[in-house]
Amino acid sequence: MASPRLFSTCHQPPFLPPSPQRFVKSPAKRRPIRSALQFNRKPQLAGETPRIVVITSGKGGVGKTTTTANVGLSLARYGFSVVAIDADIGLRNLDLLLGLENRVNYTVVEVLNGDCRLDQALVRDKRWSNFELLCISKPRSKLPIGFGGKALEWLVEALKSRPEGSPDFIIIDCPAGIDAGFITAITPANEAVLVTTPDITALRDADRVIGLLECDGIRDIKMVVNRVRTDMIRGEDMMSVLDVQEMLGLSLLGVIPEDSEVIRSTNRGFPLVLNKPPTLAGLAFEQAAWRLVEQDSMKAVVVEEEPKKRGFFSFFGG
């Protein structure tokens, strides 16, 4: 465990060795990150960079895009360079959650057609200069047949060899289903995060998706259980997280409780992890991002809510 020390808000933390792949030319100067929350400690990056993570679920509406946005921004806040790819070709949503919908001018389709370069299609977040968004296509656009998976592979290779340096994380937001879009999204990935909710329909679809991922050679799969309600678990109206884990047999990356702030953050284009004070779901996303960096998993899970013991003076509004 690293000794507690303040790390600077610049893109390069002082105790990480410089990347040997950088060009002689001085890299483009980046503005320092202005953060509402600063951590005195940084997670230890495990595995080879860039780590290509696909966030998938099978069933739609379980929180893939929300997880991608919040985990991606958490990673950027920890000081890692992140590229988030919205691989949903027909229905693009990641830019809305991040509040970058007005800044997406070029997509991967334009890059493939030669209308722009790859760096022109990357949208850099002004709040976090080390977080970039890349959308596959605009609505009503079409990709040539057979280009999907290959295109993503080319993109990853191009990102690895770009002048600014290879990103630490490439996070791919997978579309729902197990169609061609899913196959395209998982092509370049070497690890996966499966998002599910504790209901039987999502679990069945999740099990199928895990099977397909394992057939495709992705073995490092971790699970995020979203929209957990401890009151329903206590009333035995909802499966507990341990039950979900027993059914799917995956290690846990995070447990996200049901939080109405998710809807507000979605509508405002302000990700949850940037709230101050942090919300319950925001803290859970930050913890999940930490575990993702360290390739760790949860050792204990939240079961139910306990009534808080209140002191004598709580009666007076304490």
Binding site: A36, N113, I145, E214, P277, L283, W290, G317
Partner: protein, 366 residues
């Protein structure tokens, strides 16, 4: 003396009644003052001495026993009326002793009562001691409760009246910090997401408090053996090959392609295009391009340039001027009458004038 004695006894009776009238239930008929004629036979005052003793000291006596005692005492009173005067002195002495014992008993009863009061709860005792401050204590307690209720009501009221969707609402929820807008915000320093003021793990790691809510924790029980069992189950249930060939519905499968690797795309799917305008190599080069103008824009630019050059060349050709002397060489020779010769002369003269003008113009221009 009789009057004094009567007065004393009367005072004693009053004392008895004040100590415990309800319990004692001394009927007035038991206390009889009988005056004998001239004999000064004192009335054999038969008080229910035993009853009095029982009322003060003995609490175990029952009312039935007390009535029996009363009856017994009445019989004794009747029997003593027939005593002679010689017994009066003994009765007087006896009476005096009885009075002294009653007095002693009353003093004992008073002291016992005082001890009973002293054993009461200290709060009541304190209140008796500080009776003046209890009012203020009660007032302060009531005021505190009132303040707490007013505060809770005011908070609820302000929450309901707060406008939704305003900038102040965003600031209140923490999604927009007023300090950020003014550039004077301070960052919150956390150790890490697991160790900060919003996440507190309870003693023994059995509970965790997150954002003010306490949750019970349970350890994860999934083992590696169970994970491998699940993996084997899924490998048996789902057998899938990655599709490498994407074909539109209706297309024929190429001969050297495995049918399991073919993926059929519906016509209305975003992956289905009518014409593939670009080849893979070119697309890959476009993706890998890091500097310069993108391919299509460069191609369009070059095409525009070529078109412009072609247009310019065409204009140059159009701008070439026709020379009159040269034009004459192209004329056909005339083979007609003198009229035509005169016309030729006129034309010559006019040409000479024209050339003379043109030469003068050229000299002027140069």
């Amino acid at each position: 003396m009789a009057s004094i004695d009567s007065l004393r006894f009367h005072s004693l009776c009053n004392l008895q009644s004040s100590i415990g009238r309800s319990k004692l239930q001394i009927p007035s008929s038991l206390v009889v003052f009988r005056r004998r004629h001239k004999n000064l036979n004192w009335v054999q005052v038969q008080t229910n001495q035993r009853f009095v003793c029982k009322s003060i000291g003995d609490e175990s006596s029952t009312p039935d026993e007390e009535t029996q005692n009363d009856d017994n005492e009445e019989d004794d009173a009747v029997s003593t009326q027939s005593n002679t005067a010689t017994d009066s002195e003994t009765s007087i002495s006896r009476f005096r002793s009885m009075i002294t014992t009653i007095a002693n008993d009353s003093e004992n009863s008073i002291s016992r009562l005082g001890s009973m009061v002293a054993t009461l709860p200290p709060v009541v005792f304190l209140m008796n001691k500080c009776s003046g401050n209890s009012v203020w204590i009660g007032i302060s307690i009531v005021a505190t409760v009132l303040l707490a209720s007013i505060r809770a009501y005011a908070i609820r009221k302000s929450r309901d009246n707060r406008p939704a969707g305003s900038v102040s609402d965003l600031v209140r929820r923490g999604q927009l910090r007023s300090g950020d807008r003014r550039g004077i915000s301070k960052a919150m320093n956390y150790e890490d997401p697991f160790n900060n003021p919003f996440v507190k793990v309870g003693k023994g790691s059995s509970t965790v408090e997150m954002c003010g809510k306490v949750y019970k924790l349970a350890p994860v029980t999934l083992t590696e053996k169970e994970q491998s069992i699940h993996q084997k189950r899924r490998s048996r249930a789902y057998q899938w090959k990655r599709p490498t060939v994407f074909l539109k519905e209706g297309d024929s499968i190429p001969p050297d392609v495995d049918p399991d690797t073919v993926r059929w795309i519906p016509a209305n799917h975003p992956f289905a295009t009518t014409v593939s305008d670009i080849d893979q190599d070119l697309a890959q080069n476009n993706v890998y391009q890091k500097q310069g103008v993108p391919f299509r824009i460069r191609a369009e630019h070059e095409a525009m340039q070529k078109k412009l050059e072609a247009l310019q060349n065409e204009e140059k050709l159009n701008n070439l001027g026709i020379d009159s002397q040269n034009a004459r060489d192209f004329q056909r020779p005339y083979k007609f009458s003198s009229k035509l010769e005169e016309d030729e002369n006129v034309q010559k003269n006019s040409q000479e004038n024209h050339t003379g003008d043109s030469s003068s113009e050229e000299t002027q221009k140069s």
